[in-house]
């Protein structure tokens, strides 16, 4: 009877669940958003000594960091205890064809093991995709004042124009990267 828990959950269940986190975080006294935690981690590491930008009141920020800690635990719980063995995502056949053309032939599992392994990370392609990619995520979200959670979900829920503009930016960048840069980097 509880088999459905171990199957992938459909978008019309998970989407509203994520939407409910918006009022949940407001009731808890802050706003739903993850990327500010990247700055909090800088502040904790002592970045305040280098720039006043990182001298912040850490009290509520530590609470948000606990949310991030929880999300790591949640990821562990879902992947280890709520997932069937030999699990693969039901991608559209068009997506499988496009991804294969990038040289990623193993489309089993939650993530492509061709990308998320240490050997690829240390290759020149891996340095661009994962290290430069990570840098752009950190720099870009903070310059934009938020990420998918803070702008595209929380901000759009509050009908904020800045969040719509930022979300349009996310998609311009994502489309350029997907259709131009990534094929240039990965195609064998």
């Amino acid at each position: 009877m509880i088999d459905f828990l171990f199957e992938p959950w459909p978008w019309y269940v998970t989407g509203p669940f994520i939407g409910l986190l918006v009022p949940t975080m407001l009731v808890l006294g802050s706003a739903f958003g993850v990327s500010a935690n990247l700055e909090t981690l800088c502040s904790i590491a002592g970045a305040g000594k280098i720039s006043d930008y990182f001298r912040v009141d850490l009290e509520t920020r530590m609470l948000n960091l606990l949310f991030v800690l929880g999300s790591v635990i949640g990821g562990f719980v879902a992947a280890n205890w709520l997932t069937i063995e030999n699990y693969s995502i039901e991608l559209s056949s068009e997506a499988i064809a496009s991804i294969s053309s990038l040289g990623i032939t193993d489309t089993t599992g939650l993530q492509p093991m061709d990308i998320f392994n240490w050997n690829f990370l240390l290759s020149s392609n891996g340095l661009i995709m994962l290290c430069l990619g990570g840098f752009l995520v950190g720099f870009g979200t903070r310059y934009a004042g938020g990420c998918t959670s803070g702008h595209s979900i929380s901000g759009l829920s509050g009908m904020q124009l800045i969040s719509l503009i930022a979300t349009i930016g996310f998609f311009i960048g994502g489309l350029v990267s997907t259709h131009f840069l990534i094929p240039l980097i990965l195609t064998p």
């Binding site: 994520i18 939407g19 990247l38 949310f67 280890n80 939650l110 720099f139 979200t141 938020g146 829920s157």
Partner: protein
């Protein structure tokens, strides 16, 4: 007590993000190639539910659990940096297949390589903070 609730909310977020497959590089590729409705369904329905709940909360006059009246934070209307920063983030989002939330969720889900990606994301946030006063807004 408040700390426990934050952790709990995070746990729910992490579970839902894995079970929705929104943390997957595959799903992000599929989204940016417009090859499935899946990700648009997740984000779209999240926004609809979020917007309805926020409207109700605003009208209710409910207090937050700290006992203060509820705050509805507004992002500063810095449109130029919103668009430019957004484009920069989007480039990296497609490469890593992860926005900041999924970066952390993936570590728990068994992809320790993401710790390095997080390290570089923190470096990106650090560099932004150092030069923030010189960037156009």
């Amino acid at each position: 007590m408040r700390s426990v609730l934050y952790i709990l909310a995070g746990v729910i977020f992490g579970i839902v993000m894995v079970k929705s497959e929104a943390v997957s590089w595959f799903r992000i590729q599929e989204m940016f190639r417009f090859q499935a409705f899946h990700m648009y369904g997740i984000i779209g329905s999240a926004v609809v539910v979020g917007a309805v709940c926020m409207t109700i909360l605003k009208r209710s006059g409910l207090k937050s659990i700290t006992g203060e009246s509820m705050k509805f934070p507004q992002k500063p209307p810095l449109y130029r940096s919103g668009l430019t920063g957004g484009i920069i983030f989007g480039l990296g989002w497609a490469m890593t297949g992860a926005c900041p939330g999924p970066l952390f969720v993936n570590v728990g889900a068994g992809y320790p390589v993401m710790l390095v990606v997080i390290g570089f994301a923190i470096l990106g946030a650090f560099v932004h903070g150092i030069i923030a006063h010189r960037l156009p807004r």
